[in-house]
């Protein structure tokens, strides 16, 4: 028993590194009170965790008696989360909002690491106890981060709404977990699947449990109708945290949902073609996902059209993207899951890029209103071109990476003979083009009303911008390695 625990420590070395980083950041802040030092500690810790994570490439094993699964799938998502966390720390270093001298930034970095830790654990959780705990670790840290600029009324309000919605949906999810525990007598999702397959369970109770647990996931990935917190929190929170929530938090939620769905509800006797699977007979989880997906992308895109605050507009756009990615889950096949994985890496670069531009503009002008972008094309040409590329990519047009992401999603749908869903997705992309063009038009075709002097940005800001811009363009043309990596990473421990 003890030997087993000690030997399993190897599997959580990236997480141990993150825990130590979090504690070190708190202590460094208390002892030295130097913001740059704390940020350095955190960046170093995230890098160390990433290096330790790379050693787990190719491993597929259960850890701590099935509490965690260490497999290519979790390594992939943990990689996305760690890279996002590093970018967010880099963003924070040049954010005017965060470096306000009245704020105590030490806690800010420590909480980012705590949130990263929660999300990396979410990617690997294969026991409902771990799922709940890691979800709450992520949520509790993000509640505080969303309200971090607490003197701004909008930030405190965003934080309160976030905490109430979060607590409500995690309560609903927990009740679903308790029902599932009552039905199967186990918290381990592999054991639950075994019981469901061999003994069966009351279909209605199982459906109620599934829907309630879906509430928890839906809140984390901000799917309609659990999305109400998203626009408010994204608008009220500091831009850096908005970027973090919109990419990493969503990735963690998706990884947990995908693992939960594929392990718990899979029909292990299904004898279809390799790479496809079926859910437990009579259990209508896919239909719920289809409804959620269509509602999520349609509502996200339609409401985004009216937005005047660019941060809020991007919030609705990120809701819509969650809807696109849910389509990949509906397919019930490895190619659908691989498409979601591909989409996430691309989404990470383009969405972080768009938020980074919003942050730089608000650093200089103090505003996130869409009118601020009028005449930006002549004031800051590089920034505007970068923003235009990110927006084209978010729409999903070639030759950018966003096109590849959508291509694989739609291809998976068409292979699974779900052409109508692909059409709904394509129509939604057309709607999204409209509001992305609004920003584009303001930047290049409208005269600025206020100051017309050029905006100058630091070299470090430009480097970060290129770090996000180059992958957005390159992945649109040379994407084979990413696709192969994603297809390899669909493998989950113990699942065909």
């Amino acid at each position: 028993m003890i030997e087993q625990i000690l030997s399993n420590m190897w599997y959580i070395r990236p997480e141990i590194a993150l825990t130590i980083t979090c504690l070190a950041a708190i202590l460094a802040d208390v002892f030295f009170k130097r913001k740059a030092l704390v940020a350095g500690v955190v960046l170093g810790g995230l890098l160390a965790s990433g290096v330790l994570l790379m050693e787990q490439y190719g491993v597929s094993a259960p850890a701590f008696s099935h509490m965690l699964a260490v497999d290519p799938f979790s390594v992939y998502f943990r990689g996305v989360i760690l890279v996002t966390a590093m970018f967010v720390v880099l963003f924070s270093l040049s954010s005017v909002e965060i470096n306000n001298p009245r704020l105590r930034v030490g806690e800010y970095y420590a909480l980012i690491v705590a949130m990263t830790l929660g999300m990396t654990l979410m990617a690997g959780s294969s026991n409902m106890l771990m799922m709940y705990l890691s979800l709450e670790l992520t949520s509790l840290s993000s509640y505080i981060l969303a309200g971090f600029t607490k003197n701004a009324p909008a930030s405190a309000e965003a934080s309160l709404k976030y905490v109430i919605f979060g607590a409500l949906s995690s309560g609903l999810m927990l009740y679903g977990i308790s029902i599932l525990y009552g039905l199967t007598g186990s918290l381990d999702i592999y054991a639950i699947n075994h019981v469901l397959m061999t003994m069966g369970a009351n279909r209605l109770a199982l459906l109620i449990a599934g829907v309630l647990i879906m509430a928890g996931f839906g809140y984390k990935i901000s799917a309609v109708p659990f999305h109400f917190w998203t626009p408010d929190v994204y608008e009220g929170a500091p831009v850096t945290i908005t970027a973090f929530l919109s990419v990493a938090s969503k990735a963690a939620g998706f990884s947990m949902l995908m693992r939960f769905m594929k392990v718990t509800f899979i029909d292990s006797t299904f004898a279809g073609p390799v790479g496809t699977w079926a859910l437990i007979p009579g259990f209508e989880f896919t239909n719920i996902l289809i409804v959620l997906s269509v509602l999520t992308m349609t509502l996200g895109n339609l409401v985004a059209v009216w937005q005047k605050n660019v941060k809020r507009l991007l919030a609705y756009s990120s809701i819509a993207h969650a809807g696109y990615m849910l389509m990949g889950l509906v397919v019930l096949g490895n190619d659908g899951f691989a498409a979601v994985l591909i989409y996430f890496v691309i989404y990470m670069f383009m969405n972080l890029g768009a938020f980074f531009v919003v942050m730089l503009v608000s650093n200089k002008t103090g505003s996130e209103h869409i009118d601020t972008y009028k005449g930006l094309g002549s004031r800051a040409p590089l920034l505007s071109v970068a923003m235009a590329i990110f927006l084209v990519s978010l729409t999903g047009l070639p030759p950018t990476a966003g096109f590849i992401g959508k291509l694989y999603l739609f291809a998976a749908l068409i292979n699974a003979k779900m052409i109508w869903l692909a059409i709904v997705g394509a129509l939604n992309s057309v709607v999204s083009l409209y509001y992305y063009v609004l920003i584009f038009r303001n930047m290049f075709l409208r005269e600025g009303t206020g100051s017309t002097e050029p905006l100058k940005f630091a070299l470090s800001d430009n480097i970060i911008l290129f770090l996000l811009l180059i992958p957005t363009l390159v992945l649109g043309l040379y994407f084979t390695p990413l696709v192969q990596f994603a297809q390899y990473s669909v493998a989950m421990f113990g699942v065909r």
């Binding site: 106890l129 009324p153 109430i164 309560g171 927990l174 308790s178 525990y181």
Partner: protein, 100 residues
């Protein structure tokens, strides 16, 4: 021996009362109390099943739920205080800078 259905019905009732409370109450503090009620209903369900199966794992989850609930309450109250200092109210209807 009281049969398991009574415990489950009681906890389902408590849970529903909590959910309704979260949805209709306007005072942020009362909303947090309703969330605690929901979590306690879940705990009762877990304990019931745990005793029924003679399996300690449900009780272990209850320990963690209790701790997380305390942490959630602490964070929530701190946020309510921060908001109260800004707006001098804890009424959710008056907390409305951000909408649509």
């Amino acid at each position: 021996m009281i049969s398991i259905e009574y415990y489950l019905l009681l906890s389902a009732f408590m849970f529903c009362a909590g959910v309704v409370g979260v949805l209709v109450r306007r005072n942020a503090i009362v909303v947090f109390m309703c969330i605690e009620l929901m979590l306690n209903a879940v705990n009762l369900t877990l304990i019931t099943f745990s005793a029924y199966f003679g399996d300690p794992r449900g009780q272990v989850l209850v320990f963690f739920v209790m701790v997380v609930a305390a942490a959630e309450a602490a964070v929530g109250l701190a946020i309510v205080i921060a908001l109260f200092r800004n707006k001098l109210t804890v009424n959710i209807d008056e907390i409305n800078i951000l909408k649509w």
